[in-house]
Amino acid sequence: MSGATFFWMGRSIPFQEGESIASALDAAGMVSFGPGVPPSQMRFFCGIGACQCCLVRVDGATREACLTAAAAGLEVEPAGGAHG
């Protein structure tokens, strides 16, 4: 299902069927997923949902980007800072 995209802060991000949001963001060159508790930033780290570093908002719900499958049309945003 190539050609499918979701939105990261309004920008279209392509993904492959079954790919996680984290993987698709990484492939699109997004190293930082937004602000975290200083001096750290939200970003991909452990890949198994343990570290809570890659939190994003997916259609309003806070999710680990590494566990959440991308789907066409999702609105994905930074988690809104300082989650802890």
Partner: protein
């Protein structure tokens, strides 16, 4: 649908093996898995159309047989479902991310097979965006069937680093270096011991040859001491017996070993009205995939005995697991960090220890240098270690080790002293949890608001 007799958490080798065994015995069983796919970290399958990451032939064969048996078992998998814990009245709480609700189940047995988690030692800069765990890098690589781009350095300790390096090389972008705190070439006794495990040796030799063939420097007895941002990437500081040097890279992947992913999980045993809790696979003892499979069978048989559906149990798994334990102990000796590469020496005070709450080595030192000897729990509370969103998964063990080093005369805390065992084992949406209800009974039993009486 009625509650299953056995609920398994985690669809890796241990969970799948347990499910197969239980289903074959006619026990009703369900599996909860946080991802949309099964296989766990080791057998993670690529997304459709992606090239599978090359794996050793033996591993491929194990997966083929396990996945075929599991498909045949017809066991229901609840995907995108996270285990939250067991509440005071004995109900098992599952966060179903697809429905957006929390489900309460009353199985008679819960088998927790949540796998392993990587250890990452603190070093200056480990928290920067663009630094991942080596396992995390491997997850992406397995998922996408492509090596990460740019100049990647793999650093830390243990056989996984060389395996990831070989997989990257086979996918076309070998790492610029593998930095290894130990030096297997200087541990001949452990190496000889591994001759008793030809399968393991074959796999390891394959990885080492691949890495050599692609001329990847394997810097043994070396430690990646610090990471600084530089341009779009990083400058990393490498230390060995001869001195320090710097390298410029685009990505850093760290890995200092693995340990059971048992943070916050209920302990093994039965309590009150609650289910019997069993741990299986790497979350009980991190011995790798083949051992996890055997341990899944062992746990399944324990569950069957508990349910009174006993079959003639045999002890083959026990012997197998003992053998894997011996192999892992040899590997640990083979890769034992050299004395000059001790990871907790000379950490600058500003080094981040807890990323979630932004707490540093210096914050811990201040608490440890008090004349009053605080317990682990007091250090947790007053230093805010293990109190953030990861609930201690990446700082509790490091904090416990550092505390023991900083005040060797005081009783050493355990990671559990810092994390506790409370539910939710993972953060959960309030909107989902407030609707928590048994799946299989009437839900509208509101609690009387006693305050009005």
């Amino acid at each position: 649908m009625a509650d299953p007799d056995v609920l398994i958490v985690g669809a890796g080798p241990a969970g799948l093996a347990a499910a197969v065994e239980l289903a074959a015995s006619g026990v009703s069983v369900e599996l909860a898995e946080q991802r949309g796919t099964i296989g766990g970290a080791i057998y993670r399958q690529p997304i459709s159309a992606a090239t599978p990451v090359p794996q050793a032939a033996a591993a491929k064969a194990r997966w083929r047989s396990l996945s075929a048996a599991f498909d045949e078992s017809g066991v229901r998998v609840r995907h995108a479902t996270v285990f939250l814990g067991i509440e005071a009245d004995g109900q098992v709480l599952l966060d179903d991310r697809r429905s957006g609700g929390v489900v309460c189940l009353r199985p008679k047995v819960v088998i927790l097979a949540t796998g392993a988690v990587e250890t990452v030692h603190p070093r200056p800069g480990w928290h920067l965006a663009g630094v991942t765990t080596a396992g995390g890098l491997q997850v992406m690589m397995k998922e996408r069937g492509r090596a990460p781009e740019g100049r990647v350095i793999l650093a830390g300790n243990g056989p996984l680093l060389i395996a990831v390096a070989a997989q990257m090389a086979r996918l076309g972008n070998p790492p610029v270096a593998v930095v290894e705190a130990g030096d297997p070439f200087r541990r001949p006794a452990a190496g000889l011991g591994l001759l008793a495990f030809p399968g393991l040796l074959r796999e390891a030799a394959g990885y080492v040859l691949d890495v050599k063939r692609h001329r990847v420097p394997w810097l043994r007895g070396t430690r990646l001491a610090a990471i600084e941002p530089q341009g779009e990437g990083f400058a990393v500081t490498l230390e060995d017996a001869r001195g320090t040097r710097r390298m410029e890279v685009d990505r850093v992947a760290l890995h200092d070993g693995i340990r059971p992913n048992d943070f916050g999980l209920p302990q093994v045993g039965g309590r009150g009205e609650g289910p019997l809790v069993l741990h299986a696979g790497d979350c009980r003892e991190a011995l790798g995939a083949p051992a996890a499979g055997a341990d899944g069978h062992r746990a399944a048989r324990e569950a069957i005995r508990h349910l009174g559906a006993d079959r003639t149990a045999n002890s083959r798994e026990g012997r197998d697991i003992a053998r894997y334990r011996k192999a892992q102990a040899l590997l640990a000796r083979l890769f034992a960090p050299l004395p000059e590469a001790l990871p907790f020496e000379n950490l600058p005070d500003e080094t981040l220890l807890c990323r979630c709450e932004g707490r540093t080595v210096g914050d811990l030192r201040a608490l440890c240098e008090m004349p009053d000897r605080l317990t682990g729990r007091e250090v947790k509370h007053n230093g805010r270690f293990a109190m953030g969103a990861c609930q201690g998964r990446f700082c509790a063990a490091n904090t416990a080790v550092l505390m023991a080093r900083m005040r060797p005369e005081a009783p050493a805390p355990t990671p559990v002293d810092l994390t506790g065992r409370r539910w939710p084992a993972r953060p959960v949406s309030i909107g989902a949890l407030m609707q928590a209800a048994p799946e299989n009974t009437d839900q509208d039993k509101e609690m009387t608001d006693e305050v009005h009486k």
